[in-house]
Amino acid sequence: MTDTPPLLTVRDLTVKYDAVVALDAISLGIRQGESVALIGANGAGKSTLLRTISGLIRPASGDISYNGQSIRQSSPQAILRGGIAHCPEGRRLFGALTVEENLRLGACTRDDAAAVRRDVERVEEMFPIIAERRKQAAGTLSGGEQQMVALARAMMSSPRLLMLDEPSLGVAPLVTKLIFAQLAEMKRSGTTILLVEQNVKLALALSDRAYVLRTGRIALEGEAHALADDPRVFHAYLGVNE
């Protein structure tokens, strides 16, 4: 595995909000088909990293390359077209639009209507509640239902790399279990996953490798199963939360 070139490479990436350094010369790589977790306390820079990869935030320095090409200057639309989808924290559905319309916008960069229809059927199979709520305004759904729709909307772009930000946040345990079971299924079928997740146990169970972020730097990295037993992971959390 180690000799496959990475699908996504982040090199010396520094991101600032005005004078505040959110990411401090971070470097990491994700290989095709791999599932990688980003863990760390609030404010460690996990969401900032995802937002920078998807082009919402411009880095102060450093580079991001995807599939061998720099995407540092690319628009969010170009990055999505390239195959990186971002399911943001807090779900961010279009609440006034129906579930169906949310999915339709998730596929707005695609022209192949037949394939889009197949993908709608696929996400409805994965999460049957989506079919039931099809004509309902997304804002009226429960947190767990919204999370499933948000994941489905991100999948509608047919991504190679799926980035998820806190998919278990505000979601009932049973629904979380269902979502992670489907993520595991997607991983098996070849989707590369970059997962930000506060539930460390859940995150490490799904992932091959993990990075522990602490105040904008990588404090620790390694195989997920090794980190699961490493007490330093939890220290990295507590160290920030003092």
């Binding site: 998807s54 082009g55 919402l56 628009s75 969010p76 639309q77 999505l80 077209r81 971002h86 943001p88 961010r92 559905l93 279009f94 609440g95 006034a96 639009l97 319309e101 339709r104 916008l105 998730g106 707005c108 960069t109 909307r153 772009s157």
Partner: protein, 300 residues
């Protein structure tokens, strides 16, 4: 006078006036929805189109073609305004955007004064537009302009409603109005959506301006100012940022004004504008989200 006929007459007047307010308010609300900016230059889009129509028809262009071309000129003014004035300051504090739109108002109006002079010009409607229909010995009268403005307003507003609920671009505009960052993340081209919003908003203003001019018979550089203020009230009453709300607000405002003038005591009529703006204050105080409770802020 027969009170039924009088009522019908007032309903015609209310629909005619409400249509104009709705068409201006809808554009104001669309642009606000997506950019969170009050475009004070929106009224001037009414003016540029009307002047273009007058100019073209003076050059011998058939009136219907001059109207369509005028609407296109309004839409183009909106696109240029976005490109030249608003895009460079996008993301700046609200005050900057507000001042930019006020500055643009002055630029456009003074440009019109420079080219066409500040004095009013007549809006040369062809005879078929001024045809008067009278029923019940004149108790109910309306002109072709009334019919044209009401039907064109209702048809174009229905078309807009279809556009924002059935096309990907229209849905995308509503999505961007609700959550710009999430809209970018699903791959919508935000710049394109903003340009389209300005084009549609300004085109509607252009059409409204022409109907306004056809009703009053004149055009002048600041002709957009008064309807802009009314449309502003309509948009807020309906729910600023909501397209359906703006339409509702426009017709409600039209109905309210006609109610005051037609059915209220005569002494009240001069105060109709004051009452309208009092309504604005009441809404801002007690229901700032308007009837539709639109524009609940989304955090980035």
């Amino acid at each position: 006078m027969n009170s039924l006929e009088f009522t019908i007459q007032q309903i015609i007047n209310a629909v005619s006036l409400g249509s104009l307010y709705a068409m201006v308010a809808v554009g104001l609300s669309m642009v606000f929805g997506i950019l969170k900016m009050t475009n004070f230059a929106h009224g001037d889009m009414m003016m540029t189109g009307s002047y273009a129509t007058v100019l073209l028809s003076a050059l011998g262009v058939p009136f219907p073609i001059a109207i369509v071309a005028g609407i296109a000129v309004s839409a183009l003014t909106g696109i240029l305004a976005e490109r030249i004035a608003y895009r460079p300051v996008r993301g700046a504090p609200d005050v900057t955007l507000l001042l930019t739109s006020l500055a643009l108002t002055y630029v456009l109006e003074n440009l019109a004064i420079l080219i066409f002079s500040g004095s009013p010009r007549s809006f040369p409607t062809p005879d078929w537009m001024n045809e008067v229909f009278a029923f019940s010995d004149g108790a109910i009268t309306f002109t072709s302009v009334d019919i044209i403005s009401s039907t064109s307003a209702i048809l174009s507003l229905l078309g807009l409603g279809w556009f924002v609920s059935h096309t990907t671009t229209g849905l995308g505009m509503r999505a961007a109005a609700e959550d710009m960052a999430a809209a970018a993340l699903v791959g919508l081209d935000i710049n394109r959506l903003i340009v389209i919003a300005f084009a549609i908003a300004s085109g509607f203003a252009g059409l409204a301006g022409m109907l306004w001019a056809a009703q009053s018979g004149i055009i002048e550089p600041d002709m957009g100012f008064s309807p802009l203020l009314k449309a502003f009230v309509a948009a807020i009453v309906g729910g600023f940022g909501s397209i359906a709300g703006a339409v509702l607000g426009g017709y409600l405002l039209g109905a309210l004004e006609i109610l005051i003038v037609g059915f209220g005591p005569t002494e009240l009529s001069p105060y109709r504008d004051a009452i309208v703006f009092a309504l604005l204050i009441v809404f801002l105080l007690f229901r700032p989200g308007g009837i539709m409770q639109a524009n609940r802020e989304v955090k980035l």
